[in-house]
């Protein structure tokens, strides 16, 4: 057992534990904190899989921006402990459980049968995760789409301002 395998195991156990805390705790803030911890553990998992860029994005976007949003909403709604509701099984939950089980089975079969994907190369795959590789691709091969997305976002911001400007002067 190398160090990375140990690290992977520890991080995954912590990730699962914090996910359980998120869905079982009664207080919304505690749930949210569980979620933040879960996001950090996931970022760690990405690092052990040599995907530094996704790990950084995970921390910046999810653990940073999205969590601030979640906690703001909790604050604005002024939520306390959740009240006990009558528990009813709704069809959405059944479908969700079914799909989750299907995903588990699928991942399990891939692990057990050890399928090899044609053209899969470990070194190339490890290289793709680095920020350097992504930056190189984005600013050489995909420079036009990147610039076009810049214009797209500008248009979206202008549109939002036009529609939401408070005063009609």
């Amino acid at each position: 057992m190398t160090l990375s395998v140990v690290l992977f195991a520890v991080l995954s156990i912590l990730a699962i534990a914090s996910a359980l805390v998120t869905i079982t705790s009664k207080h919304p803030i505690r749930s949210a904190m569980g979620l933040v911890f879960h996001f950090f553990m996931l970022a760690g998992l990405y690092l052990t899989l040599s995907a530094q860029f996704i790990a950084a994005l995970q921390v910046l976007v999810y653990a940073g921006a999205i969590m601030v949003l979640v906690i703001f909403v909790i604050m604005l709604l002024n939520l306390g402990d959740e009240e006990k509701l009558k528990y009813k099984v709704n069809p959405r939950q059944v479908i969700g459980i079914f799909l989750g089980a299907a995903l588990l089975v699928m991942l399990g079969t891939i692990y057990v049968t050890n399928v090899s994907v044609a053209g899969f190369n470990k070194e190339i795959a490890a290289n793709i995760g680095t920020a350097q590789f992504l930056g190189n691709e984005l600013y050489t091969k995909y420079i036009f789409p990147v610039e076009a997305i810049g214009i797209l976002l500008t248009a979206a911001i202008v549109g939002a301002i036009v529609l939401a400007k408070r005063k009609l002067n």
């Binding site: 091969k141 036009f144 076009a148 214009i151 797209l152 500008t154 202008v158 549109g159 036009v162």
Partner: protein, 494 residues
């Protein structure tokens, strides 16, 4: 290097100028004329640069380069559509100044949003990869969502904007999922690569089928084709009339050119004979059934659009339904799936753009406070405003496909292309639905000319809306009597 910059000029210019117009807007403060004229001049500059790159002698299918990572194609049909889209933008801006002043307030953001929409359309026509295609469609749609709800004190406009946004983003989801599936099937986003892999049998047929089906849903929504057309009448009716004219013409043309670009690479015309394997047999089966599906969509779209337009009392809503029907006619070119069909789409999209923008501009100058849009309001228009009535009659004749106006040769090209590729039944349905459409187009003309009204309507303010009317009239007339040059050009570009 330098040649590429000349060919790519329309794209680079519109991308830069659509952002610069915001800065011009910010630095000129209360002076509204500067941003107005700046956007008109920029769009004209784009049109001129596109005309230059259209005239240069370049390969038919465009011009791929390595500096652009093969994401963009230059010249050819892309340059032609650049001209059309920027002209549509110019006409919309001219028509919207008096309209917005009267109905709401003249905000300069309107002009920059029109420019952004034109930038999106130009990206679609220049797209050489699924990525650019998607970004272009999204840029166009984002601008449309805002243009539809621009008069935000008017409840119908807000409703139309929200409806368009919610349904449109859902359709975009389908589109991007389809692109992902096609990427999974072929391993490439670049359209010529996809075509190459498909013709050499180097792909996965199941994923290709699923991917094309999903893309078909997304694109049919953007073109307002059956069964994804229900949003169109509500959105086109609720939006400010000048925006409707722009969305229902240039937007539809952009969606159709996206359709052509996708169909050209995913539904290959000639499957290579030397590799007649079970795979290529399956591929030709897939191509045939895909064309059949599009043919059925096209037939139902034109019937539903025209039959629903029959019962409308409101001219704007009638035109909205008839624009659904026109999407059906345009789809016939995709069904034909050959050079003639694509050239037909190019011609008819051009003709349709001018006649439909022209008629929406007239609806816009007659309407007041979201009223005066019923057929009854048009009675006696001949007496007070003979010129407006005559122009409206010309646009109606052209939309109905009566020679010598632009609608006729366009429809003729599409119908012939469908017959020649073996879809005679589709052409019969198209002819029947054209006959149905005569009823309401000619009905409007009859209302204007033969029903008298003691106190006929008075139009107060036309001002710069004259310019788009003049442009529309010239093109509807010229393309009607001298279609040859554009037909030849269209056939040489595909």
């Amino acid at each position: 290097m330098s040649m590429e910059i000349i060919y790519g000029m329309p794209l680079f210019l519109i991308a830069a100028l659509s952002v610069i117009v915001l800065l011009v807007d910010a630095f000129t403060g209360k002076n509204k004329a500067v941003a107005y004229y700046f956007s008109i001049i920029s769009l004209l500059a784009v049109a001129v640069s596109a005309a230059i790159s259209l005239n240069t002698n370049i390969p038919k299918s465009g011009f791929d380069t390595t500096i652009t990572g093969n994401n963009i194609t230059f010249g050819g049909y892309a340059a032609f559509f650049d001209i059309i889209f920027s002209l549509a933008g110019v006409m919309t801006i001219f028509a919207s100044k008096p309209y917005m002043k009267r109905e709401f307030k003249e905000y300069k953001e309107y002009y920059s949003l029109v420019m952004f929409a034109v930038a999106g359309m130009i990206m679609v026509s220049h797209a050489n990869s699924m990525l650019m295609l998607f970004i272009g469609i999204e840029l166009m749609s984002f601008s449309f969502y805002v243009l539809a709800g621009f008069i935000r004190t008017r409840i119908t406009a807000v409703e139309s904007s929200l409806k368009y946004f919610l349904l449109g983003s859902f359709a975009s989801g389908f589109l991007v999922y389809g692109i992902a599936m096609i990427y999974g099937a072929t391993g490439s986003m670049i359209l010529p690569d996809i075509l190459n892999k498909i013709t050499t049998g180097n792909f996965d047929i199941t994923y290709l089928k699923v991917g094309f089906a999903l893309m078909l849903v997304g694109l049919a929504f953007k073109a307002a084709a059956f069964p994804f057309h229900q949003w169109a009448p509500d959105v086109y009716h609720g939006a400010p009339t000048v925006s409707t004219g722009f969305m229902s013409t240039a937007g539809k043309a952009a969606a159709l050119i996206a359709f052509v670009i996708v169909a050209k690479s995913v539904l290959p015309v000639n499957i290579s004979v030397e590799s007649v394997t079970s795979g290529s047999l399956e591929l030709s089966k897939f191509t045939d059934s895909a064309r059949m599906v599009i043919a059925v969509i096209s037939a139902i779209t034109m019937l539903i659009g025209n039959i629903s337009a029959l019962v409308q009392k409101n001219v704007k809503r009638m035109l909205a339904y008839s624009s659904v029907a026109h999407a059906g006619y345009l789809l016939m070119g995709i069904v034909a799936n050959n050079q003639d069909g694509w050239a037909g789409i190019m011609f008819y999209a051009t003709a349709y753009l001018f006649m439909q923008i022209g008629s929406f501009v007239i609806v816009g100058i007659i309407e007041q406070n979201n009223e005066r849009m019923n057929f009854d309001d048009y009675t006696g228009l001949r007496k007070n405003h003979p010129w407006i009535a005559a122009l409206m009659a010309i646009f109606m004749f052209s939309l109905a496909g009566i020679p010598p106006f632009a609608g006729f040769p366009g429809k003729y090209m599409l119908f012939v292309a469908a017959v020649e590729s073996g879809y005679t039944w589709l052409t019969i349905i198209a002819v029947i639905s054209s006959v149905i459409s005569m009823y309401f187009y000619i009905g409007l003309v009859l209302t204007m000319y033969f029903k008298d009204n003691e106190n006929g309507l008075i139009i107060t303010d036309i001002s710069s809306a004259k310019i788009p009317l003049a442009i529309s009239f010239v093109f509807v007339f010229l393309l009607g009597i001298l279609p040859g040059s554009l037909i030849d050009l269209a056939k040489s570009l595909f």
